[in-house]
């Protein structure tokens, strides 16, 4: 067309030549603009794709990696709870093509949870969809698939898995089928774990799974050996209040929480309240040291005659003849002397001492916890018995926090199951000096007193045994049924961890010579746990180091022989 116009222009002839030429050029320009426009459009589209499409695609793709619920890991990053894709088997009963009774029989064979009749009822119900099995293992899925019924469908759905099974089950809790936390940290952290912005990042607990495993193993062995009703073990960092281990026996498997014994679901460390007996004596002594009631650890009290208070009669199994100083009182665990100290303290100051440690309110921890049995009326009898841990019932966790304050320089901090980078300020309960004396006194109990079996060579363990008599079902204390507790801290020259073991109603065995006291039951658990986990917690055993006990040793040496 353009060529023709050019030729026409060259050979001439037509009078309207210029107009025709202009028209031609106009048309040409128009065509060119159309081409240019199309080209620009393509280029523009390319640029648009380049700029916008790429990123949105990447964002879409990175999503599948974020789990539907955040992982829970221990303080070292070992996974304690994860979400995996599990198989579920469902059926559309309205689309069935095979014979329901035959299929029901086969299903009952593969999945014996329900009977063939139940399966038949499900298959003939005419509903649009029913689950046959959730959280099915791949073998079961392939076996059901081999039945060849097109109405049976398989799907992947997220499932909460606890790789360490029963480890720290009471701490972790579990989730329901919809993936919502039912108890434990799963419930506490529900919003954090399911927050779309944060669930890519795992939540770190304060638990150290190695220590937890050691504690559970040793405690489990002790509970089995002594046929105890249950037990509790706690390892608490005295500087931060972090719970490095918290075990409760019997344990359960959170992967199948519904199938476990309801008794096992009960977390004795926080939900159980117990009269913890003589483990309260150091608390009484520390309060009295702080209040100035005890001016020196060499202060003496009469120790041979039982203290009569109303209908109670406070006595010792093996009374210390004559009088006893404070070191002897703790070393030989004298109820008589502790009652007198509590008496001198008086109701006001004893109450204040317990309240300072939070014994009047539920323990400070994220999990579900029980309210302690704190006396409302503080009669003189209450004061005297509370001095050695009777008439007041707290959870083992209360005791762990209190012991942490006893040895860490006198600062009480709330216990936490979350890994903390900066410890809370806490509040001062005892003076530094009192704390230092208590370290020595607790070490003395282990070196020279009832806590010998709780010692672990080289770890400078200090602690106090406590054997409380349990209130029997009929009412009244039973001498044979005890709650045996050993509360310890180590290393005593610079305390880092409190370790508590408690056995509920242990029975004597041949090698404990018929004793069910803490020294024979709970103390060995603490000793073994410390020996196993001390190096993991960063404490190098060293038998050449020891806290200076010479002054205190001198105070008990006379009595020993």
């Amino acid at each position: 067309m353009a060529t023709l116009a050019a030729d026409a222009a060259r050979f001439g002839g037509a009078p309207n030549r210029p107009q025709a030429l202009a028209l031609t050029y106009q048309r040409l320009m128009l065509v060119m603009l159309v081409f240019a426009g199309v080209t620009l459009m393509i280029v523009g589209r390319l640029l648009f794709l380049q700029v916008f499409t790429d990123r949105s695609g990447a964002a879409e793709l990175s999503n599948p990696l974020i789990p539907p619920r955040a992982d829970i890991v221990d303080r070292n990053g070992v996974p304690l709870a994860r979400t995996i894709d599990a198989w579920s088997i469902g059926v559309h009963p309205d689309r069935m093509i095979s014979n329901p009774s035959e299929l029901a029989a086969k299903l009952a064979e593969l999945m014996p949870e329900k009977s063939a009749d139940q399966y038949k009822a499900m298959l003939t119900s005419g509903r649009t969809f029913l689950y046959l099995s959730r959280r099915a293992v791949p073998e079961l899925v392939s076996a059901v698939n081999a039945l060849g019924e097109p109405a049976i469908v398989f799907d992947r759905e997220p499932e909460r898995l606890y790789p360490q099974t029963a480890l720290a089950g009471h701490v972790l809790g579990w989730t329901d089928f919809d993936g919502h936390g039912v108890t434990g940290m799963e419930k506490v952290l529900e919003s954090r774990l399911s927050d779309p912005a944060l669930r890519g990042q795992p939540v770190g607990l304060a638990i150290d799974s190695r220590v937890q495993a050691a504690m559970e193993a040793e405690l489990g062995a002790a509970v089995a050996k002594h046929s105890a009703e249950g037990g509790t073990g706690i390892v608490l960092d005295v500087r931060t209040g972090e719970l490095v281990a918290m075990a409760s026996m019997p344990t359960f498997n959170p992967n199948a929480a519904g199938k476990s014994d309801p008794n096992a679901l009960f977390n004795r460390a926080t939900m159980g309240v117990y009269e913890l007996g003589s483990t309260f004596k150091p608390i009484t002594v520390a309060a009295a040291l702080d209040a100035g009631v005890i001016k020196s650890v060499s202060q003496r009290y009469p120790s041979n005659a039982p203290v009569q208070i109303g209908r109670f009669r406070i006595k010792d199994d093996h009374p210390i003849p004559g009088s006893a100083n404070i070191v002897e009182t703790l070393v030989h665990s004298s109820n008589i002397v502790t009652a007198q100290i509590a008496d001198q303290m008086g109701a006001e100051r004893m109450q204040a001492a317990f309240r300072a440690l939070g014994f009047h309110e539920p323990a400070y921890v994220e999990l579900e916890k029980a309210r302690p049995l704190f006396p409302r009326e503080w009669s003189r009898a209450t004061v005297l018995t509370s001095g050695f841990g009777h008439g007041i019932a707290v959870s083992p966790l209360h005791l762990a926090s209190a012991y942490a304050a006893l040895v860490n320089g006198g600062i009480w901090r709330p216990a936490t199951l979350l890994k903390v980078s900066k410890p809370s300020a806490g509040r001062r309960v005892y003076s530094e000096e009192t704390s230092l004396k208590m370290r020595k006194l607790l070490r003395m109990v282990v070196v020279a007193g009832t806590g010998r079996k709780g010692d672990a060579a080289g770890f400078r363990v200090g602690g106090k045994t406590g054997t409380a008599e349990k209130v029997s079902a009929a009412g009244g204390y039973s001498r044979k049924v005890n709650v045996s507790t050993f509360a310890a801290a180590f290393p005593m020259d610079n305390p880092r961890y409190v370790v508590i073991a408690m056995l509920d109603a242990p029975k004597a065995t041949a090698d404990t010579f018929g004793f069910t006291t803490a020294a024979w039951t709970a103390a060995p658990v603490v000793s073994k746990v410390i020996a196993r986990t001390g190096p993991l917690l960063g404490i190098v055993p060293d038998e050449s180091r020891e806290i200076d006990l010479s002054d205190m040793m001198a105070l008990v040496a006379k009595q020993e022989h």
């Binding site: 353009a2 060529t3 050019a6 040409l28 065509v31 060119m32 081409f35 240019a36 199309v38 080209t39 393509i42 280029v43 589209r45 390319l46 794709l49 380049q50 499409t53 790429d54 695609g57 990447a58 793709l61 990175s62 599948p64 990696l65 070992v78 996974p79 994860r82 995996i84 894709d85 898995l161 790789p163 360490q164 099974t165 029963a166 480890l167 799974s209 190695r210 937890q212 495993a213 050691a214 559970e216 193993a217 672990a456 060579a457 080289g458 770890f459 020996a531 196993r532 986990t533 190096p535 993991l536 960063g538 190098v540 055993p541 060293d542 038998e543």
Partner: protein, 265 residues
């Protein structure tokens, strides 16, 4: 002229070509992007796989399971406090090896060696600064092997070979390996009777270095380290391994140390 006439055609062709090439580019981009998406999908699939495998591994190797295996089969116990050593001096306490026959023989031979040869003196063992256990091992295997090798006729040859090989290693213990490897070709080139002896000497020159490395590392650690890995078994469990080359010895040593570190519990 003719170009002038075809100008429009060329324009059309150019624009068409440009459009086409733009489309080609777009197509290419689409292909590349699809490829990229595919790779990304694969990466995600692989990451998921890794996660599920990690989960499976973690579940199979859960702590309660390990505890059970330990109770049933392995019967390992936590190291006692006596097995933790705070410094090298305590480690040296565990060195209780009597000198071997070869070492006693070496003394005799050295006494008889005053024939104008420069006697190997102090610079013989600078590489063994802190390696207490490694020190005696260096001399022993050389002599043993040399004297037991049938191709070596003369003891003096062994003695002559020793100082020559040892001296280059002495001033710079860090590069012992390099010296040893360079010494090898010389030995093989020479061949003959001195060959095996030289090789043995070179091998031994490597070994002190490896041993030093292995032994010096725990020493260097501060005593208050959070994970004490100086377990007394380490030196005791190390037999004389003259048949292994230095590298392997170093590997075994480091593996043993690792194993003990993590196997604390």
């Amino acid at each position: 002229m003719i170009v002038q006439g075809f100008k429009s055609v060329i324009w059309v062709a150019t624009v068409g070509g440009a459009a086409l090439s733009c489309y080609m580019v777009s197509l290419q981009v689409a292909t590349e992007r699809a490829e990229l998406v595919k790779v990304e999908r694969q990466i995600i699939a692989a990451k998921r796989e890794i996660r599920s495998l990690q989960t499976e591994l973690g579940t199979r190797g859960r702590l309660s399971q390990l505890e059970q295996w330990n109770a049933e089969v392995l019967a390992l116990a936590a190291p006692s406090s006596a097995q933790y050593l705070s410094d090298g001096v305590k480690l040296a306490r565990f060195e209780r090896r009597d000198p071997t026959l070869g070492e006693r023989a070496a003394d005799v031979r050295m006494a008889a060696m005053h024939t104008g040869e420069p006697a190997p003196t102090a610079p013989l063992k600078p590489a063994i600064v802190r390696a207490v256990a490694a020190a005696p091992v260096t001399a022993a295997p050389t002599v043993q092997r040399a004297s037991f090798t049938p191709t070596v006729g003369l003891r003096q040859m062994v003695a002559a070979a020793k100082p020559v090989e040892r001296k280059p290693a002495a001033p710079q213990p860090a590069s012992v390996k390099a010296v040893a490897t360079s010494a090898k070709p010389v030995a093989t080139a020479k061949g003959e009777a001195a060959g095996p002896a030289k090789l043995a000497a070179a091998r031994d020159a490597v070994k002190p270095a490896a041993d030093t490395k292995a032994a010096a590392r725990p020493d260097a650690k501060p005593a208050a380290r959070s994970e004490p890995k100086i377990v007394a078994k380490a030196p005791a469990a190390k037999p004389r391994t003259s048949r292994l080359d230095g590298k392997l010895v170093a590997e075994i040593n480091s593996a043993a140390r690792k194993g003990q570190g993590s196997g604390g519990n």
